[in-house]
């Protein structure tokens, strides 16, 4: 019985880990400022990209010019996020 409960708990954890989270990425100077590279946050209470920022950074002010992407497409802070989305925050790009 203990074994079964542990198995159920493990499955719940697995479900939580893979299905009820949003994956957050920070790049370049923003990664250094925030002190985070890749984090997962719970989806609960997070509707928009801005909410995701606030949850991941513990309500840190977002620097001006911060760019945002959901699943590797540029979006605005008001963009709705879904469970399993990859949300990225980064400074203006400087390639080329």
């Amino acid at each position: 019985m203990i074994g079964l409960q542990a198995e159920i708990r493990k499955q719940e954890n697995t479900i939580f880990m893979t299905d009820a989270v949003i994956n957050i990425k920070f790049f370049a100077s923003l990664r250094e400022q925030v002190g985070l590279a890749d984090v997962q946050i719970s989806k609960a209470g997070v509707s928009t990209v801005m909410d995701a920022w606030n949850r991941a950074t513990e309500n840190r002010d977002m620097p001006e010019n911060t760019l945002m992407a959901v699943n590797m497409d540029y979006v605005s802070a008001e963009h709705t996020v879904k469970v399993g989305d990859e949300v990225a925050f980064f400074p203006p790009v400087t390639g080329g």
């Binding site: 100077s29 980064f90 203006p92 790009v93 400087t94």
Partner: protein, 142 residues
Amino acid sequence: MHIEIKDKPFEPYQYLLEYQDETGFAGKYGATAVFVGSMREFNQGEDVSAMTLEHYPGMTEKYLQKISEEAATQWNILDSLIVHRVGEMLPNDPIVLVAVWSAHRAAAFDASRYLMEELKSRAPFWKKESLTDKTRWVEKNT
């Protein structure tokens, strides 16, 4: 249409020689417009001794592909190529190679410039420069 992220130094003209040999459009194109961006040893009034180029794996390729497709939609071109370095580099190292092949020159000129401008404004790459006594992120593309 080809895009490539390189984490090792590459020689753009050597790359073009080999790339063109493999394409099947010899005799079809009358124009090739090429742009090479290289690392300068001097930026914003300071000597730069090295540079690190960070990117967003996956999104970078997606945007290079997207802008290549946009160029192919807007201009009558035969092929396009984008190669971009990431990682540690030194002054004079090539950073980016863009090439466009077309029958006539206007399309090649226009499309190659479009690719560079769009790459600069949309492809997620970031440069961090090593100066004599510190490092700094390049804040804005000019």
